[in-house]
Symmetry: C2
Subunit: 332 residues, 2 copies
């Protein structure tokens, strides 16, 4: 295992220490090193957004803490949920009196811990609402949308709900808009090769040299099929066929898309995927309003990519363009 | 070879097409798809900065085209120099009447082609000056600095020279400052595993599962030693010992550092390296003014990292903080 680490059991905390040291002007930890909030938190009168989940997905989750995005996040071990206590600490540190929206991917461990944190926070008089992101179309059929996992599409929910909160909206309004984005975003990924969790030293899955896994999850969860690798054009059209059908897109619809690298896929290749996606969507009469290409949700060094499609309305378009400030993602 | 591509021979052009499609508000190609300039080029009265080199190093080179950075770039095939004609096209497209600075890494092929382009441009009445970046300490001894290759430290030169050009400085002033940055920046890298060039389908080098290459170049050029991998603390202190000795740093000096991932190394690991670098430099009494952590110069999916150290003065500090606008790197 060739990784930049010391003792594998210190990996998460040492990495977090590096983040806080490098970005102390914008982020700070609160007691627990695994709890990180905007340095200006709490922002008085603003709805605060809390997020979190397992470590190993940067810029998810901590990278989305900043102005115009989330207010705080907690992380657990690699690919493991943080504790309820950590989420409670986030909540108390970011509540500016207007309530806190919990916004995170739909996974059992996170739901259990964050629901518990929400209860404890309410006992202390903090208003908490929850929206779970369920964009992974390969993880459950459309009629069981609430069982779907959350993957890279969470980016769009942070972006739009974060801008809405920044504009002074109420907790109810921010929650309603976040739900609206969740209803309109879909993601599907393709895995080329696994990553290795430092503490285990073993790859998360095995796959042949000529095979790819269509619909893979961000922890290496099995997808819907394993097949021989194919030209970019075919891989992209497979993903988009699923995504646009699931979203019932029709000619004239306007979308934003995110071509996301899962870790070790070169940016150069992601742009080949974007070219193919642009061409496929154009042929269907679907307009791309604002594309994003890069690493927005990773799985350590897993090779592969995902495409997220968000069906837009005018409100979302305006909020997508609002400014953000985080050391992790480029200015929009 | 599992990569997002169609025909390997179309890889570069399809990837570039994706870039221009995704970022048409900020970048445009000029005739040749391998020539990309700021969409507002030429900027009248401003010194223009031209760069370029082989493809496969994003965000180097095209990712540094934008306000506050370079004005245009051309790329060749993967890891191969662009043509003199392409650089001439860049030059003519970005010259706003105040002259053009060629700023690029010190490689034989690039030097040959860009020197030729400079001659042709001068024949057409455009003032051209050149600064080559020579930050790779492992590529030649200190007394042969002009033979050293250019690697990730080019980021600092783009950033500072770009901000200087934006401020209205003359070609002579921008050149002098770029040279000053080159004199004060050093980089050293460690390779964990190779990348595969699409057209060849073969890894750029071979290395054992437990070995790392200290001082590796960005095309897999051999470094100064191959050794068993070691804890992050040791790897980082090896690099910093070389870098700070080569720069003659003493307690009280102020530096910026860049911890750069070469492609498939997770951001989480780069922050472990940053933590170790912060600790090592602090112990030596060297202050870090503004750190950068992420992928700033890659080699497709090569695994590994480099550290660049820039010895700062007040002018550089001010220019490091000037705004930039490119779709590829985060706001500073």
């Amino acid at each position: 295992m060739k990784k930049i680490l010391n003792n594998p059991s210190d990996f998460v905390d040492e990495s977090l220490r590096g983040i806080v040291l490098a970005h102390s002007d914008m982020l700070r930890s609160v007691g627990d090193p695994r709890v990180i909030v905007r340095s200006d938190a709490p922002v008085r009168g603003k709805v605060a957004i809390a997020t979190g989940g397992g470590y190993g997905h940067l810029p998810v989750f901590l990278g989305y803490v900043g102005q115009g995005l989330a207010d705080g996040a907690c992380v657990g071990n690699v690919f493991s949920s943080p504790s309820a206590d950590a989420m409670l600490t986030v909540t108390k540190s970011i509540d500016g009196g207007a309530g806190v929206l919990y916004l995170y991917g739909n996974y059992f461990g996170d739901k259990m811990n964050f629901d518990l944190a929400a209860e404890m926070a309410r006992d202390e008089g903090i208003q908490v609402e929850t929206v779970r992101v369920t964009d992974d179309v390969a993880s459950a059929p459309a009629e069981q949308m609430s069982k779907r996992r959350g993957v890279a599409g969470v980016f769009f929910v942070y972006k739009i709900a974060g801008a809405c909160a920044e504009s002074g909206a109420s907790l109810e309004e921010v929650k309603r808009l976040a739900e609206e984005v969740v209803i309109n975003v879909r993601t599907m990924g393709i895995g080329f090769s696994p990553c290795t969790i430092p503490a285990s030293g073993k790859p998360t899955f095995e796959i042949a040299d000529n095979e790819v896994e269509i619909g893979i999850g961000i922890h290496g969860e099995p997808g819907i099929s394993r097949q021989e690798t194919a030209p970019a054009k075919e891989l992209v059209s497979q993903l988009l066929a699923h995504l646009t059908a699931d979203l019932d897109l029709v000619p004239g619809d306007e979308v934003s898309i995110l071509v996301n690298g899962t870790g070790s896929t070169p940016l150069e290749e992601l742009y080949v995927a974007y070219k193919e996606a642009h061409s496929w969507l154009s042929q269907k009469g679907i307009k791309i309003f604002k594309p994003f290409v890069g690493e927005y949700a990773t799985s350590l060094e897993m090779a592969g990519f995902s495409i997220s499609v968000l069906k837009l309305d005018e409100t979302m378009k305006a909020l997508l363009q609002a400014p953000v400030n985080t050391p992790f993602i480029k200015q929009l």
